[in-house]
Amino acid sequence: MKLEGAATRGTRTGLDLTDPNFWRAGAISTTLVMLVVLAFLSIDSMRVISVGGAHVPRYDVVNQHIGYRYDWSRRADVPVIGGAEPLFGVTLTEAQATALVREGKLVIQSRACMDCHTFFGNGAYYGPDLTKSWLDPAWPQIWMPMTGKPTREEAMVAFLMHPDQYPTWNRRMPNLRLSEREARATVTYLKWMSAIDTNGFPANFGQTHAQQ
């Protein structure tokens, strides 16, 4: 058998596509090439998505007004960083902002917010997406009057500390026993997150189709 195989192989010209070794070489080379490309793209992406990179602002952006506007050159919505608008009336240093945002992330993880909500569309789909929750018109239109708070961030804190006391139409948010400090940290996190350039997700935020 072996001899026959060797003999036929000797007379065969070109590639033997039924030889597993050919495909093994193909699998190895394809995988390696793709991994190398991925490595280069990852290095470049880290540059863009690190804090202070092109798409992700520094944490002290929470001291400023954050908007979201359609950019015709990019054909996508982009965050717009505006003038001074300190959170809770306090302008933070970068170190203070970093500490608050870090604590906010610990809240989000320890309460498993991503197992009801989505962040950049990732997570669970029971509660609303929180990417632009800082910009949600519900805060000034509904929650500020309902909680009686004069600012958006204070209304958010009031809600987060006792979500079970406020009606939310059909689905309900349970009480996750946030302290006031944790709630403020979470709000800081949400404000910072809304300033990240997500290539336009979510699209047309806050605009109904009639307005588009």
């Binding site: 058998m1 195989g5 596509l17 039924t18 189709h209």
Partner: protein, 99 residues
């Protein structure tokens, strides 16, 4: 992209791949059972898939690059079942010969 176009385009994309799968399935069963009618039915599925690709290219608001990719995919679908089948037959013939 209008809301309606969103749903229509997504459905067309799904139908394209499904038709490609129908082609692959019918072609394969047709070759397996030596039934040319089934193989022909498979080709009809592919024609339908390609027609869907044309509709996507002409009537949806996708960007040009994506439309090209969709058309290219539809063309590649034509090739996959016969090439795969021929290759599998060859693999098994070689294996038989090697015994």
């Amino acid at each position: 992209m209008t809301p309606a176009a969103l749903i229509e385009t997504a459905l067309l994309l799904g139908v394209l791949v499904l038709a490609g799968g129908g082609y692959g399935g019918l072609y394969s069963v047709g070759r397996l059972r030596a039934r040319p009618a089934l193989v022909r039915a498979g080709w009809v599925c592919w024609v339908a898939a390609f027609a869907v690709a044309l509709v996507i290219a002409v009537a949806t608001p996708l960007e040009a690059g994506w439309k090209l990719l969709v058309l290219g995919s539809a063309i590649v679908y034509a090739v996959i079942p016969p090439v795969t089948w021929r290759y599998l037959e060859r693999l098994h013939v070689e294996a038989e010969r090697g015994r």
